[in-house]
């Protein structure tokens, strides 16, 4: 196994081709192997990867703890719903709506970032959390005096994505087989996710990425080195929010229905857990975290079958049990790998370093002592 991995590492082109084939075939493997519902799970995995990559720019790269990230996702989704659903009678094409949504979210990222520039660590966390809640409460209540969001009922009949006349909304029948829309969305999401991964990787080692790392490690030293910390932090917020808005738009088109329920604080926390668990600042880690935390709760749905097989009846409702086990998994994984499953090279070094040094180094990450 190890030899095979080594062999792959020496042949990057072969690895890329194998990976591409795997990614292209994945929905079919899942669909035929486990059932079409798993293709849907796959779509959600990609959406969360997209979200996690966006949040990782804010938290992992720039070190700004953002607990209201889901608000940008919500903005993207609601904008999509306003511009492409019967709600206002607008039906703009998705390639127009998505960028508008992403830009709106990015704008809100700057709006949120600007007043919070002086805040650090946990104060920033609580303000962003408040912002997220404010957005959600407005979405929940803006059905009066004029109906903007349709309140807690949410908005439905959102237009599906359609490319060159081919609508993603209906299943496709070919060769006597039926492919539900989840297959098409998989490839669409995959394209956006790959784009996001590319952007995030290129950002990491760019001038901007290095400036973010400097701010994260020591803001004063960064400022002394001539980094414009204000603009760089705003840029981090804007970039992260843009990804969030993009994911939100895709989510709205995919679901065809959105309601404030989908954008509560737990979602923000979930995305944060993904990046911390996977390994903050490290893109493969972030992807792994998103995949695991989306797939684990789905896999735990089989708990009912498991109970039937072992006990002969369902003792505890699997829906109740699965969040419990999710919590246990979260705690256990963190206890065994506190730096995340795939930590970035730098953090691994900090952990390997002598205890005292490591402690000091880590204290600088997300330090709240303002």
């Amino acid at each position: 196994m190890n030899r095979a991995l080594d062999g792959l590492r020496k042949r990057p082109r072969l690895t890329a081709i194998l990976l591409a084939i795997l990614l292209a075939a994945l929905p079919f493997m899942m669909g035929f192997g486990l059932g079409n519902s798993w293709v849907r799970v796959l779509d959600f995995v990609l959406l969360y990867v997209l979200l996690a990559i966006g949040l990782n720019i804010v938290v992992g790269y720039a070190g700004l703890l953002d607990l209201g990230y889901i608000a940008f996702y919500a903005l993207g989704a609601y904008l999509y719903a306003w511009l492409a659903s019967p709600h206002f009678g607008l039906h703009l094409p998705f390639w127009l709506v998505l960028p508008i949504g992403a830009m709106l979210a990015g704008l809100f990222g700057v709006l949120l970032g600007a007043p919070t520039l002086r805040l650090r660590g946990d104060y920033l966390a609580i303000v962003t959390l408040g912002f997220g809640e404010i957005i959600r409460i407005f979405m929940n209540n803006l059905n009066a005096p004029f109906n903007l969001t349709n309140g807690p009922q949410g908005m439905n009949l959102i237009d599906p994505v359609s490319i060159a006349g081919f609508s993603f909304g209906k299943p496709l029948h070919v060769f006597g087989m039926t492919f539900p829309p989840t297959y098409f969305y998989y490839y669409l999401f995959l394209a956006f996710t790959l784009l996001a991964i590319f952007v995030a990787l290129r950002l990491q080692d760019s001038r901007i990425g290095r400036a973010w790392a400097a701010i994260r490690e020591d803001e004063i030293a960064a400022a002394a080195m001539g980094i414009n910390t204000r603009n760089m932090k705003l840029l981090a917020f804007a970039m992260g929010a843009t990804f969030g808005g993009l994911a939100g738009g895709l989510f709205a088109a995919f679901q065809g229905f959105i309601s404030p329920e989908s954008f509560n604080l737990w979602e923000s926390i979930l995305v944060l857990c993904m990046i911390v668990l996977g390994g903050m600042g490290n893109i493969p880690g972030v992807i792994l975290g998103a995949v695991l935390l989306t797939a684990i709760p789905e896999a735990l749905r089989y708990l009912g079958d498991f109970q039937r097989a072992t006990l002969g009846h369902v003792a505890v409702d699997p829906a109740d049990l699965r969040m419990l086990l999710f919590g246990v998994a979260l705690v256990a994984m963190m206890l065994f790998r506190p730096a995340g499953l795939l930590p970035s090279r730098q953090r691994k070094r900090e952990f390997a370093a002598e205890d005292g040094v490591a402690e000091q180094e880590q204290a600088s990450l997300y330090d709240a002592r303002a």
Partner: protein
């Protein structure tokens, strides 16, 4: 004027409950710099355990005065939650003391999810109602109706705060807590058993949280497995508002948040000409929180410390 005094009273009652929960957050934060996300859930468990005991007691001995029944519930719930908080710290936080700061935050969230779902399995998804055993005497004061329960909540909360204040300022344990908050290493060098101090902090916070939890459920007449979440969120906001790590700040922040929320909910309709209704109560609290933090980033009573160089 009537609405004003009424909302002021309601706000003070709610605010003193927020303040009690906020104390738990702020004490832990002061010492460990950890947002103990599970604290709201400990409050919820406290309320649930107490309610179960109260329900049994009220059934077994219906002649017992209501106050004693509630006291019995609290007396059972406090040790239970102390044990719970002790265990949480020992299992989920202590092994991660030297880990990056976000690692214990994630375990805290994990513990929170575990407790919430455990409570759901044990007590179900429905609201558990608080039996009507407490006296419902009401007084008229400046045009506002004040119930005996409201007075009891505020008085009890203030007593607890004063007690905690004395504990922290006057006792050996309090001195050890303050020393640990200032510098764990130096406190350790001075012979303070830091692990024990941290455990004590969690335990004291849990005991106070139980009382706050029972207060909330008595005030609203119900408890729910989900109640800890919003309560914890508000309480943490209150702690930040007052200046996190600062005990007096948590009290001030809690009372202020409660009053602002109540007045905001009472007047928001008038201010905006009916555009926004009282269901924007929560928005109001968060707007104030953001406003305060933007103009005073370290909270109202937080010390302004120079940036770490």
């Amino acid at each position: 004027m009537d609405i004003f005094t009424q909302q002021l009273v309601n706000g003070l009652v709610l605010g003193s409950i927020y303040a009690l929960v906020a104390l738990g957050y702020t004490m832990v934060y002061g010492i460990l710099e950890l947002i103990n996300f599970a604290h709201g859930e400990v409050t919820m468990i406290g309320a649930m355990v107490a309610l179960s005991v109260i329900g049994v007691l009220a059934g077994v001995a219906p002649d017992l005065p209501g106050v004693l029944v509630v006291l019995g519930g609290i007396l059972v719930a406090i040790p239970a939650c102390m044990l719970l908080a002790f265990g949480i710290e020992k299992i989920a936080y202590r092994p991660l003391r030297k880990a990056p700061r976000l690692a214990p935050l994630i375990t805290a969230i994990g513990v929170s999810i575990i407790l919430q779902n455990l409570a759901m399995l044990i007590w179900g998804r429905q609201y558990v109602s608080f039996p009507e055993i407490l006296p419902t005497t009401k007084f008229e004061f400046l045009g506002a109706h004040i119930s005996l329960l409201q007075i009891a909540i505020v008085v009890l909360a203030l007593t607890i705060m004063a007690g905690l204040w004395l504990l922290v300022e006057k006792t050996r344990l309090g001195r050890a807590m303050r020393a640990t908050a200032q510098s764990r290493e130096v406190a350790e060098l001075m012979g303070v058993n830091v692990d024990r101090v941290i455990s004590a902090t969690f335990i004291i916070g849990a005991a106070i949280a139980v009382i706050a939890g029972v207060m909330v459920s008595a005030y609203y007449g119900l408890a729910h497995y989900y109640m800890g979440f919003m309560l914890g969120l508000k309480a943490f906001s209150a702690a930040v508002l007052g200046g996190i790590g600062n005990i007096a700040g948590a009290m001030l922040g809690g009372l202020l948040l409660g009053v602002i929320e109540a007045l905001g909910a009472g007047y928001i309709g008038d201010i905006t000409g009916g555009f926004l209704g009282s269901h924007y109560q929560d928005v109001f609290a968060f707007f104030v929180l953001i406003g305060v933090l933007v103009f005073r980033p370290s909270g109202l009573l937080g010390e302004r410390v120079a940036n770490r160089a």
